[in-house]
């Protein structure tokens, strides 16, 4: 066991022998790149001029007045393509280019990471294939169309549960076959090392900006920072620069779906069962036979049976508190933000918001809280309309 590749007992490189040299090359190339000023300057250039960073840290006054804490929103929803996913895609695709790869592949659930990857591929002239479960393709027709418009090939995955987990399996299989010319862009803080570290590196801009912005506006650090957790990319980026600030409470919010007790949820932490999937050792939803269970959430972006290994570590070391929010709670929070502030958040981000509204009225009354608004809700219009019309939602 090579401890550099681990976060405590989580992480590692559980991949086939065919990929071990690929991961070594990737680790070396990544370390070199982030220590190369020219590379990081190019990354920052695209974040500023193309993605539109920095994103605002907005004090949601109406929400704050109603709920009793000072609630700041880190507006990742204002990024190009509508979510934080693009930060990481720009970083990884520049790395792919630097490594001489001509093709990129990605997995996607709701399609946000797929759209971001297809966007980056269009920008940098790369051939792009996105793996997406057949079930998700049906549910996210708009994003599928967008990816195709951008010139990406969308490969329907028809195996297993035909959702994100299976799309990830298929992307790993393709990568094992074609690693010589193909770069796998993982969208979440998951996968074999160095992926969790890379995703954190390219998402930590969120917390670096937020820390500077809160110091400008409040002249103090926040009391709490809240972000939603599926695999954990926006949250690891939102926590990164606050982890060493011991007085800042960090809270990760998983999806409780219909309720943890119903078994229909996406909270990998709640069952506390460790396992190995998608190249990493982490907390996983699994049955007694060691098969991976299906996650359930109204939000396709949180609908993943595992969680990034660094989150698993942050939970065990108690640096971050992980909680969960049900479908109904998150949809109420979504409407609150929409009506009080005129901002329609992604259903994923509404989970973080829902928990924030809870603590604002209780232990965090009068305190300052930053919530990561990881994406905008436009992609969710269909689900939102069905939900409030009492129809069965996609998930």
């Amino acid at each position: 066991m090579n401890m550099e590749k681990y976060y405590g007992k989580f992480g590692g490189q559980y991949v086939s022998e065919s990929l071990m040299n690929t991961l070594d090359e990737l680790t070396k190339a990544f370390e070199e790149a982030i220590n190369d000023k020219a590379f990081m300057d190019e990354y920052r250039y695209y974040l500023k001029q193309y993605v539109g960073r920095e994103t605002p840290l907005y004090l949601a006054k109406n929400l704050s007045n109603k709920y009793g804490a000072k609630i700041y929103l880190k507006r990742e929803d204002l990024n190009h393509t509508g979510a934080h996913k693009i930060n990481n895609v720009i970083g990884q695709i520049l790395l792919a280019k630097r490594m001489g790869k001509t093709k990129v592949i990605a997995e996607t659930g709701a399609g946000q990471h797929g759209v971001a990857t297809a966007t980056g591929a269009a920008l940098f002239g790369m051939e792009c294939t996105v793996y997406m479960g057949e079930e998700d393709i049906k549910r996210q027709a708009l994003n599928v169309f967008r990816m195709k418009l951008l010139g990406a090939k969308v490969e329907a995955v028809k195996t297993g549960s035909k959702t994100l987990k299976d799309a990830t399996n298929e992307a790993i299989r393709t990568w094992a076959k074609r690693a010589e010319d193909t770069f796998y862009i993982i969208g979440s803080a998951v996968g074999p090392y160095p992926y969790p570290r890379m995703v954190k590196e390219f998402q930590k801009v969120i917390s670096i900006e937020a820390k500077r912005q809160i110091l400008e506006q409040e002249h103090a650090l926040p009391d709490a920072v809240v972000a939603c957790v599926g695999g954990g990319s926006n949250s690891i980026g939102m926590f990164a620069d606050f982890i060493d600030e011991k007085n800042v409470k960090l809270i990760g919010v998983e999806a409780a779906g219909l309720g943890i007790e119903t078994g229909k949820h996406a909270s990998a932490m709640s069952e506390g069962k460790m396992g190995v999937l998608h190249g990493m050792r982490t907390y996983l939803l699994q049955d007694d036979d060691g098969n991976i269970k299906l996650a359930h959430s109204i939000s396709a972006g949180l609908d993943y049976p595992g969680v990034g290994p660094e989150h698993a570590y942050l939970r065990d070391t108690k640096r971050v508190e992980y909680v969960s929010i049900r479908d109904d709670e998150c949809m109420n929070a979504l409407m609150e933000l929409n009506k009080l502030e005129g901002i329609l958040p992604a259903i994923e981000s509404a989970h973080a918001l829902a928990h924030t509204l809870k603590i604002a009225q209780n232990e965090m009354k009068g305190k300052t809280i930053i919530v990561c608004l990881s994406g905008r809700g436009d992609k969710d219009i269909d689900t939102i309309s069905k939900y409030f019309n009492g129809e069965e939602t996609n998930k």
Binding site: E17, N21, N169, R173, A176, A179, G275, H278, D288, D289
Partner: protein, 264 residues
């Protein structure tokens, strides 16, 4: 020390100057009685070793055929524990065919590593192939295997892109080396890596134990051109398809094995 069935078989093949033929079958496809029949028939037909695939929900190292087979076996109720029970029954019938479990690490981890190793010993499992447990991640399992007499052999895999890794992987390997014929997943026929000959020579140079070639093999003819570089061949997806297409006809199973063995 107890003699391992794989090592015993390999010694015998070496003395006779013969090559090994190994097949793969998903456990519980379509049910455990069929799996047992295949084991009995294969042994009588002269098979040297059999891989039993423990169906897993997320078989990332497998191509379509084994993925489908796993999915259906799980739906039919196949589990690791039931496969152990089947193994015990097979051994109680005095069937001494060397058997290797092909499975994913989560299944072992979930079962409990120590409990798993003990159960393998009880039920006569001779080897383990774990495609998502590369050399660097094997310490935890290896410690447990080394701590129990009669524990199965952890079969080491090498790939055409292993290059400088080959040496450390094969150094303490036992049983045989599983040489993967191509990058990617199981079941991709007619697509051996273009450097296959050099690669196999390199592996052979670095180890004294037999080297078995697997992935994408259907008949003995497929490996004819590299026969002198290998000590045996492994057939998985093709064998599963053959069995499914014939509705698990045991004559076809026996004939296929005899023919392959003869031509090898």
């Amino acid at each position: 020390m107890l003699v391992n069935r794989i090592e015993e078989k390999i010694d015998k093949l070496k003395r006779e100057g013969k090559k090994a033929f190994i097949t793969y079958m998903t456990a519980g496809l379509p049910d455990y009685n069929t799996t047992k029949n295949i084991i009995r028939t294969s042994m009588e037909a002269g098979l040297d070793c059999m891989e039993i695939g423990i169906p897993f929900s997320d078989p990332v190292a497998d191509g379509n055929v084994i993925q489908d087979a796993s999915f259906r076996a799980i739906n039919n109720g196949a589990t690791l524990e039931k496969t152990f029970v089947m193994m015990k029954e097979i051994r109680d019938e005095a069937i001494e065919l060397p058997i290797v479990f092909m499975m994913y690490y989560n299944q072992i981890y979930n079962y409990g590593i120590e409990k798993f190793v003990k159960r393998c010993i009880e039920c006569g499992v001779d080897g383990l192939i774990i495609p998502d447990l590369p050399f660097e991640e094997q310490d935890e399992l290896r410690t447990e295997l080394n701590g129990h007499e009669g524990a199965p052999i952890l079969i080491q895999l090498v790939s055409p892109v292993s290059k400088s890794r080959i040496e450390k992987i094969v150094k303490d390997a036992r049983g045989f080396i599983y040489a993967v014929s191509q990058m990617g997943v199981t079941g991709n026929e007619n697509s051996f890596h273009n450097e296959i000959k050099n690669y196999l020579c390199e592996v052979k140079e670095k180890t004294d134990i037999p080297v078995m070639l697997g992935f994408g093999i259907g008949s003995a003819k497929d490996v004819e051109f590299i026969k002198s570089q290998i000590d045996g061949a492994i057939v998985g997806s093709h064998f599963i398809r053959l069995m499914e297409d014939s509705n698990f006809d045991m004559n076809i199973c026996a004939n296929y094995i005899k023919e392959f063995k003869n031509e090898l």
